[in-house]
């Protein structure tokens, strides 16, 4: 089966692929923010926040082959860090009396706060990865899962700083579609640069053959730590966006439901290409919105049709299973959009195109 819309990832056309992914999303963001109804703007904002989070997982997992179940913890760390800097200056001394003085008594501008929050998530990831990234495949993946539970436990019980399991309210709701889109665009760009860098190549080599990669001089631990740290920064940013979209955060938000949703998106789109992850987030989000609509009850020909509560989760789970069964490499099959072909340019990388993109290598 020929599939000409995708080509295997090719370095060289550096700006075309990330541009082709980011620019249409930007057009949509501007459109819904200034001309669309508010409900659509909210939906698009949520999709883009998930996209930043999924891209963060992608940056690490696609290159290393290690699925991360822990990135939602970094989202939580980012969200709380941003809340400490920007939320409810009147209440902070009482509800979060354990915070350091400079945070307790003052608020900071939102954008620098978001970046600082991302950096905190990255620092935590850096320290954790020095231990976790010595492990391989399943062991490493489970260790990232353990990270999520450590986060849950620490933030759920550190009452003087996080208000425990209570919901923190009053985060400034500054997040608009265009604002999130800027982070989406940065994340796409960073993911693209990473996967086409030497670090990305050596990580993918180690993903396929750990032993042979060492024989090629790859310092796998170092590369993995770098990838994990960068990806945690973007997970942190996604958490910040999530908190400031809704205006409230609680530790329960950053747990298994969100982890499952993000992994479903990454799996459906395909973990091995940037185009795949973007597609996956959009497709799963659309399915989710439709199911959510039906869950609330829709009038069809005078009859109210409504799905039972929980249908959204079940629907996404089914989609994920079907994709794993019939298209295990995801919808994009690990290939990227062939932008040059769309633009009608004859390009010198024709020789580099896979002759038969339908037959993926047997695992």
């Amino acid at each position: 089966m020929k599939n000409n819309r995708f080509v295997s990832s090719i370095p060289g056309d550096t700006w075309l692929l990330p541009s082709a992914l980011a620019i249409p999303l930007g057009v949509v963001a501007v459109g819904v923010q200034y001309f669309g109804p508010p409900t659509i703007a909210v939906t698009v904002t949520e999709i883009y926040i998930r996209l930043v989070a999924a891209l963060a997982i992608y940056m690490f997992s696609s290159n290393t082959g290690i699925i991360s179940y822990g990135h939602v913890a970094f989202m939580g760390i980012g969200a709380y860090a941003s809340a400490w800097q920007t939320c409810c200056v009147m209440m902070k001394p009482i509800t979060m009396h354990g915070l350091p003085a400079f945070l307790k008594t003052a608020n900071f501008p939102v954008v620098p706060s978001a970046i600082a929050a991302g950096v905190l998530a990255a620092v935590v990831a850096l320290v954790a990865s020095l231990v976790i990234m010595r492990l391989n495949s399943i062991a490493a993946a489970i260790a990232t899962f353990a990270l999520l539970f450590i986060f849950q436990s620490v933030y759920g019980h550190w009452d003087s700083v996080t208000m425990g399991v209570s919901t923190m309210i009053g985060l400034p709701q500054y997040v608009t579609p265009v604002h999130v889109w800027i982070w989406v665009a940065i994340a796409i760009l960073v993911a693209f640069i990473l996967q086409n860098s030497s670090i990305g190549l050596m990580l993918r080599a180690s993903r396929d053959e750990h032993t042979a990669a060492r024989a090629c001089g790859a310092r796998i631990l170092k590369y993995r730590v770098i990838a994990f740290t960068i990806s945690a920064f973007f997970a942190g940013i996604a958490g910040v966006m999530l908190g400031h979209r809704i205006g409230t955060i609680s530790v329960a938000t950053f747990h298994l439901d969100l982890t499952f949703l993000l992994l479903a998106m990454v799996v459906v789109g395909g973990l091995r290409s940037l185009s795949g992850v973007v597609l996956g987030v959009i497709i799963v989000s659309v399915i989710m919105e439709v199911l959510r609509l039906f869950q609330g009850g829709v009038s069809i020909g005078g009859q109210i049709v409504s799905l039972p509560a929980g249908s959204v989760q079940i629907g996404i789970a089914l989609v994920m299973i079907l994709v794993l069964r019939f298209r295990p490499d995801g919808i994009a099959k690990g290939l990227e959009f062939d932008v040059k072909r769309w633009l009608g340019r004859s390009s010198d990388e024709v020789a580099l195109r896979r002759s038969d993109s339908g037959s993926s290598a047997a695992e």
């Binding site: 295997s8 370095p11 086409n196 860098s197 030497s198 190549l201 050596m202 993918r204 080599a205 993903r207 396929d208 053959e209 032993t211 042979a212 990669a213 060492r214 024989a215 090629c216 001089g217 790859a218 310092r219 091995r272 690990g334 020789a351 580099l352 195109r353 896979r354 002759s355 037959s359 290598a361 047997a362």
Partner: protein, 241 residues
């Protein structure tokens, strides 16, 4: 390597073995199954830490270093089972050695890799995913990857295993040219006696974790102990094929 011993529990895989590789020539390493040939390659590339003995590259001691350090010091290897990066293109497979070992940039590494692929006769599949290639081509790409890391010594663990006669002859002809073309020494593990007799300027024979003979192909072929080691395991050899 000097007086190297490797024990796995109570099993002795190598027992006080000396092995010296000469620069710019092909040294053959032969021996019956279980003689310790692959263990020797693992020791010489850092994948197996010796229980006793020392490893030197020139005057520099490398005992106890990691495989990454061995590679960066100029000792590269191929694997019996190929171990290509199956989801990377052939050119990236080869380029990765130049990037990992010499820290070349991607473009330079690819140019370097393409040159080697041309020499080895695989340039036409440079963009194919390595995992989709037939066995014979994979073996060649594995060889190209070992060459691409600017080695001073290349250790080849049965590169001709499972190849047909024509493929095998072609590969051996290439291996013979490596020392002069890339200025490095080669250690070649091989079962096929005809191949090894033709390809190597000197041959080392292992049996039961010990070195039992060393010399020119002619000397080794007439060595009584070598004949005994091979005849003694003749049945095993047949079954392995």
């Amino acid at each position: 390597m000097e007086g190297v011993g490797v024990r796995f529990g109570r099993l002795s895989a190598l027992d006080g073995v000396d092995l010296k590789l000469r620069p710019n020539s092909v040294t053959g390493l032969i021996g019956p199954n279980g003689a310790g040939k692959t263990t020797a390659v693992n020791v010489l590339t850092g994948f197996q830490k010796p229980t006793s003995g020392k490893i030197f590259l020139g005057s520099q001691e490398l005992t106890g270093h990691t495989p990454e350090e061995f590679a960066r010091q100029g000792v590269t290897r191929s694997f019996q089972s190929g171990r290509l990066f199956s989801k990377l293109s052939v050119i990236d497979n080869v380029a990765s050695a130049a990037i990992g070992i010499r820290r070349l940039g991607r473009t330079k590494a690819r140019e370097h890799a393409y040159g080697i692929l041309e020499w080895i006769g695989c340039a036409d599949v440079a963009s194919a995913f390595a995992g989709t290639l037939p066995h014979g081509v994979q073996q060649r790409v594995g060889l190209a990857r070992a060459i691409a890391g600017f080695p001073s010594f290349i250790l080849l663990d049965e590169p001709a295993a499972g190849l047909g006669r024509t493929d095998c002859d072609g590969l051996i002809a290439l291996i013979q040219k490596i020392p002069s073309k890339f200025e490095c020494g080669v250690l070649l593990i091989e079962h096929n006696m005809t191949v090894i007799m033709n390809a190597c300027s000197s041959i080392v024979v292992f049996a039961g974790g010990r070195r039992i003979a060393e010399g020119t192909p002619a000397e080794v072929a007439h060595d009584a102990e070598v004949r005994r080691a091979y005849l003694g395991s003749a049945n095993e050899q047949t079954m392995a094929i």
